[in-house]
Symmetry: C2
Amino acid sequence: MKENTDLVAPVAPSRGRLRPLGLDEVRITGGFWARRREANVTATLGHCRHWMERVGWIGNFSAPVADRRGREFADSDVYKLLEAMAWTGSESDALTETIASAQEPDGYLNTAFGRPGQQPRYSDLEWGHELYCYGHLIQAGVAQIRTRGDGPLAKTARRAADHVCATFGPGGIEGVCGHPEIETALVELARATGEQRYLDQAALFVDRRGHGTLADIEFGRAYYQDDIPVRDATVLRGHAVRALYLAAGAVDVAVETGDEELLAAVVRQWEATVARRTYLTGGMGSHHRDEAFGDDFVLPPDRAYSETCAGVASVMLGWRLLLATGEPRFADLVERTLFNVVAASPSEDGRAFFYANTLHRRRRGTVPPTDTDSPRAESSLRAPWFAVSCCPTNVARTLAVLPAYLATASDDGIQLHQYADAEITTGGIALRVRTDYPSAGTVSVRVTRSPDRPWTLSLRVPGWAEGATARLVDADGTRRTVAPGTATVTRAFRPGDEIRLELPVAPRWIAPDPRIDAVRGTVAVQRGPLVYCAESVDLPAGREVDAVRVDPNAEPADGPGGTVVAPGELAGPEEQRDHGWPYRSPGQAGPSAAEPHAVVLVPYHSWANRGPSTMRVWLPTTEH
Amino acid sequence: MKENTDLVAPVAPSRGRLRPLGLDEVRITGGFWARRREANVTATLGHCRHWMERVGWIGNFSAPVADRRGREFADSDVYKLLEAMAWTGSESDALTETIASAQEPDGYLNTAFGRPGQQPRYSDLEWGHELYCYGHLIQAGVAQIRTRGDGPLAKTARRAADHVCATFGPGGIEGVCGHPEIETALVELARATGEQRYLDQAALFVDRRGHGTLADIEFGRAYYQDDIPVRDATVLRGHAVRALYLAAGAVDVAVETGDEELLAAVVRQWEATVARRTYLTGGMGSHHRDEAFGDDFVLPPDRAYSETCAGVASVMLGWRLLLATGEPRFADLVERTLFNVVAASPSEDGRAFFYANTLHRRRRGTVPPTDTDSPRAESSLRAPWFAVSCCPTNVARTLAVLPAYLATASDDGIQLHQYADAEITTGGIALRVRTDYPSAGTVSVRVTRSPDRPWTLSLRVPGWAEGATARLVDADGTRRTVAPGTATVTRAFRPGDEIRLELPVAPRWIAPDPRIDAVRGTVAVQRGPLVYCAESVDLPAGREVDAVRVDPNAEPADGPGGTVVAPGELAGPEEQRDHGWPYRSPGQAGPSAAEPHAVVLVPYHSWANRGPSTMRVWLPTTEH
């Protein structure tokens, strides 16, 4: 295959319906994501490095075996930080040198296995995470190739990848890693270097999975997707991050090898997963026990796991499917997940994170410690670090490449998928996008450079606009209603031409599919792509969100400071007390006196920033 | 303290409002529990022994260290089997000899610790379960003392208990076990032997807990109740079995030491737990991840854990609280839990078990293997054995002592708490109880022997009768309405006198407290103490229970063979298909055409006996 090192983008397929743009072609200039990206560079990268020095995960690369610290996959977080540093142009050679010093002559690199006093290499493919760690190392190396052309990190990554091919290739160990990730990394390395064997090895890993080479653990082989071959599966299942990384890798393999059957299989799995196993926020994974997808429609808001890393992985998968197919539904879920999972995890200052992103918090918790790590799924507020701390570095590398997710090109023209204040310059075309999205619904796209011939500007009309009216104002001032999907303008644009998209971001009630038992009889509020929630800090002192009921027959309205106000009521204190056995004949246990209340709602991503609180996205209606 | 070896009962307090009766005083002569107890003796005991030979847990007591098999607490299941064997009069001396041969000269006995090649004794109080295992050994020993007076098992148990006192008593290790159980066992041993030091040691363990001597694990110290001292806690929390065993032990200590404050603390915790953290079935524990209680009102039916052992432990706690206080609410929950958790776990033939007792099964599973153990919480049908197999032996020892839970005595007379066809003879009084309960609601109590002086017959009128009419027919034929609680007849009974209780067992709708979000908009059916459920095998071929809706404005009625038939409908197939994104504007996603359907319901305890099926207890109403 032909190498593609010019494109400074996280995913660079050699074919597909749409071509990604590079970080040198798209610049976010202001607004929601600019603030998040600023905090990422000025705070999060240093924060993650500080914590990984402190808890010893960086030290592991030079420490004696007896002093190794952290879980078996701790190396991977150092690699994810390195990836984020590469994309943001941060200096990483000294840190790379530390890592490279631990690499064995044959390319093997892992601080938890293979040295005297440790388990042998590849003796625990189920839980050892060795190939998973290589995957993140390779993704970091690919980021260096794409941003610098080459470098010491890229060399270390290539030596590791060569070792993987030599060890797990034809005639080698016929196994797969308990945690997928190597697959997508190897395909990207193949794309970045033009080396076919990396792609072949990735394809081999994808094909090998689902044949039960891993042990049948208590969670079942579905936990690591080793129960059914990828091309035979009908829905994502098992550990959510594992499932989504594997699916992303399978798309990469399918695209590069022209394997339409494999691509169609992943699209089918995505469809079923979105229809039956995804939270309103875009979050995936409802089991705390195994961090896994539940059965269809098992989406409890109060036990939502919705791991931040699953959100990142879902964005990775959605982006790949969008590039391959051009279908806006994939960008719809990417948008939802970015605003309501990826943006919900980090604090605005970039120094604290949610690992799990629950949709209902029933109990005010305590303030997480700042001097030690926190349990991953229990924190009532964002915590600075976790014993398992995959999420902070995953957020960091995602925010680092975010501009690449805004737009694509094709032979027809430019496609805008996500809306942010931005400048886009590619192939003789330059665009200035002005918007306060998602606060406001107007997106202005001014053409500042254009070839003389006609081309097509495509604008995604988000699926969330269904049932409301979106409009497009053409360069000539004509105005038309556009339906969710893709709106296009084809013309010989001239510099100064402005296309305007007007999206209906007024707050609206959302009702769940009746099969989602856990939220029957409730509604939620969405405003544009943002999911909203009630938080106890906005209630009268001492009251909790479980006293809130809303009236879906009245309209929610914009309130001050980005809030939404919904008409409703607060259950009286009598109703909130214990009444003995909580199951009675119908009618015996009805709601008692309630007081009318204008319920203040805040964007879900912004919750838990004002001290410990109770919170809920799905609100019971006054009818129940 | 004074020993009490004459009473052949699982719990023999030296004080309290009510006095337990012995297994030699109460005999179950027919009906529901007689069948279950028959299967227990003829099948379950041998089945458990067979499996423990097969998986090596019995062999562990004579095997070399390298060959030890099973989890760290595997010894305890052998002890629970021995306890059941003791109560049922089964020969156990050979098995006891095997166990005793592994006991160290100082009384230490555990196959997982302390020998060369193993971790040192008491090096892992968090997870090692050494004191937990002693607890079950001691309970087995107590059963032998109470049924035989003494014996080799009792000797082994006493040596172990002496070792515990020597090791963990004043001046010894100031620790507690990660899994409570030793507390209640030591109190029973004190009661059975008259040795005060066993009680003192139990009191010490209860007082020590809650002070953070155990490590702060990822689940938090609440997991093993080491977060808050027992007398300060307000609700049961953490691992459900641990919490309930500890509470049972605390009641035992409180009763024997006259510690009213401690008793009141446990009563308060029980009240809050019942009002907010208990399933309709009586099941406790809603987290799969840590087998724990959830936050208040977190009671998802489809992710119910409701471990069988938690049901057993809840019966143990309820029985102790009933003896201490005489309040019928404790017997209410014991009844509910016996019929809907303890009876739901074993198959009718006593050779397969549920570990977790879900209230909603969404997916037909596969038939569990008969030649190997099953994952504990995933089986779609009852499985013969589990890798963690605490439940089968716990069911066995509970069924073995079940007659002891039927009735008590006091200076006033006799109290009947649970209804079964039975004969009761104690202190000059003999009763013949005739009933088909719970199929029928009539309970006839004929006095066959009585002293000449007046005494009081107390009959529990179950809480589930609230809202319907229960009646009591006196010996003279007078008939009166009785309210849930306790109905009494005081008279100088004469042989031949009959008291009749008529309980309203017609099927009735039950609605949940509106704060239990997971079942909002649904109802369930209860018939007497039995919770009912819909199972897919009773639906038209190919349909699943999630298509069922019922009309709570129409009455459920008795159907053939113990079934109940409820008026309702089946959602059309169109509604059951995927419709893309499952969250829409209200009204966009309403139910489509449904067909009227008479929904057949079966007792919950009997589900999953006709092949893999989907099942649900809580049924959406046609209004939703």
